[in-house]
Each structure stands twice: as C-alpha cells, then as structure tokens.
C-alpha cells in the first residue's frame, strides 16, 4: 500500500495543492460539460416544439 492514512493520502507528500488543484478542476469540468451539452440538447428540442406551436 502506498499510503499510511487518509491524511497521508490527501497531503500527497506535500504536493496536495498541486495534485488536487489539477484533479479538482479537471473533475469539475468533466462533470459540468455533459450537463451543459444535455441542456443545449433539451433547449434545441424545446425550440423545435415552440416553432411547431406557433405554426399551429
């Protein structure tokens, strides 16, 4: 096992800021981007539906 304890793991041998600063931003973006893409898709579907309503 590489780590002795949870705090040892989070400290990353003194490089915690750099390792978690990298992983945190990457993970945040990769969770956000699919939501943004799905919302754009939903908005596009709504726009088509609205267009149909207007034309009766």
């Amino acid at each position: 096992m590489v780590w002795n304890s949870a705090s040892d793991f989070f400290a990353m041998g003194g490089y915690g800021l750099y390792v978690w600063g990298s992983y945190g931003v990457t993970a945040a973006w990769m969770l956000l981007e699919p939501v943004l893409a799905a919302r754009r898709h939903a908005a596009a579907l709504r726009a088509v539906a609205d267009m149909d309503d207007e034309q009766g």
Partner: protein
C-alpha cells in the same frame, strides 16, 4: 428488391442523431469505468516517483488531456475540411461539436501543466516552445468557435471556420515535436513510438487507462453536443418535427 444499407447511411443527420442517442450512455459508462480503474492504479498501485515525489501523479490526467487536445483538433480540422470539400453538412456540424471539448482539454492540459510546473520547475508558466504552441492551440479553438458564431449564414460560417482550422492544423505537429526541435524546459515525451517507455509499468498503465477514459468521455460529450447542433440546424426538417410531435 430488398434495400441494402448504404455506406453513407450515418452521414445523414437523421441516422446520426439516432445512432448517437444509443451510444452516448455506453460511452459515459466506459469513461467512468476506465477512470475509476485508472485512478485506482494511479493513486493506490503506482509507486512514488524517485525524483518528483507525488507531484508526478498529475501526469495521469495531464498527458491524456494534452493528447486529446491535439487529437480533437485534427478531428475538428478534418471534419471541417471534409464538410467544405464534399459539401457535407453533418461533417461541418461535427467540427462545431468538437471545438468546445477540444478547447476544454487544451485548457486542462495547460492548467494541470501549470500545477505540475510550479513544484517541479518553480514556475507556473514559462514561454518555452511546448507551452507556447499549446497556448496557441487554445487560441485556435477559441478563434474557430468565435468565427463560426459570428457569421450568420451557417454554410459560409462553416467554410470560414474550415479555412481557419486547416491553416491552424500546422500547429499540431509543432506542439508534438517541440520538445525535440527546441531545447525546452518541458520534459521530453514519456512515451515514444520508437523506444521502450521510460516509466514504471504501473504508471504507464494508469496513464493509458485514463487515456481510454478521456477518449470515451470526448466521444460521449461531442456526440451529445452534435445532437443539439443537428436539431438546431435541421429544425425545419420533417423528421425533426416528427421527433418532437411524438413526445
């Protein structure tokens, strides 16, 4: 006579839209599974690096993100060029769908690189050939996105974007070979096609697993965005009307 499936069936926006809706959940699943496996190997199996300590663990996302930034650019430029040359609408839509994800991976490569450079070199940023050419890649993505959005006539916008993407493609080999052509602060390639890898097997395994995860993620999110682009641009088509009417 029975109708045979045609080679270019999926080149039609309607067929692509259906195919993408089936594949996207699977791609997200593959991405999640490989990310969990890759992170497990990267953080709990791979040993501490002798010279860089634990800061080296940034490599497991830094290198895959940098690879994706280049691969997605070539894919974007390729689809944009094909869409222009063959007058294929779906290809141009794919180029537009790829751009934001490519820009994001470029940003992440630069971001994770800065967070690795600080403890390793003592600087968040240096103007060396590798970093500078990667920054230019980010500007090329942003320029492509701004250009295609700025022109109202969609097909003219596609063509203008294709021209920018093709000219900018010359930057990709410059990024790739920069560490060999110039004396850069950035270290040389971790993996080369001509020599054995210079890193421990578990480190290499984690990096490759994360690369698979990033590929699957990129396909999933690009397909999702491409579905939105197809609807936005084909909103007048009968099949789109029928699709909405069914709901």
């Amino acid at each position: 006579m029975k109708k045979l499936p045609r080679l270019f069936t999926f080149a039609a926006p309607k067929s692509f839209y259906r195919l993408a809706s089936i594949t996207v959940p699977w791609l997200y699943g593959i991405a999640a599974a490989f990310a969990i496996w890759g992170l497990y190997v990267g953080f709990f199996v791979a040993p501490v690096d002798a010279t860089q300590g634990n800061s080296y663990r940034i490599i497991f996302i830094h290198v895959p993100a940098a690879w994706m930034s280049m691969v997605l650019y070539m894919a974007m430029a390729g689809w944009a060029a094909f869409g222009w040359a063959a007058n294929a609408r779906l290809a141009s839509m794919m180029a537009r769908a790829i751009a934001p994800t490519g820009a994001a991976f470029t940003f992440l490569a630069l971001w994770t690189g800065a967070f690795w450079g600080k403890p390793t070199w003592g600087a968040w940023w240096v103007w060396d050939a590798r970093l500078t050419s990667e920054l230019i890649l980010l500007f090329l993505y942003l320029g492509f996105m701004a250009l295609v959005e700025a022109i109202d006539d969609v097909r003219r916008a596609d063509h203008a974007g294709a021209l920018l993407a093709i000219v900018g493609a010359v930057n990709v080999p410059i990024i790739y070979f920069s560490v060999r052509w110039w004396n850069t602060l950035h270290q040389g390639s971790s993996i080369s096609m001509t020599a054995a890898p210079k890193m421990a097997h578990t480190m290499l395994l984690s990096m490759l697993l994360m690369t698979v995860a990033f590929w699957a993620y990129a396909f999933a999110v690009v397909f999702m965005r491409a579905r939105a682009v197809v609807l936005e641009r084909e909103s007048g088509a009968d099949w789109v009307r029928a699709l909405v009417a069914k709901k």
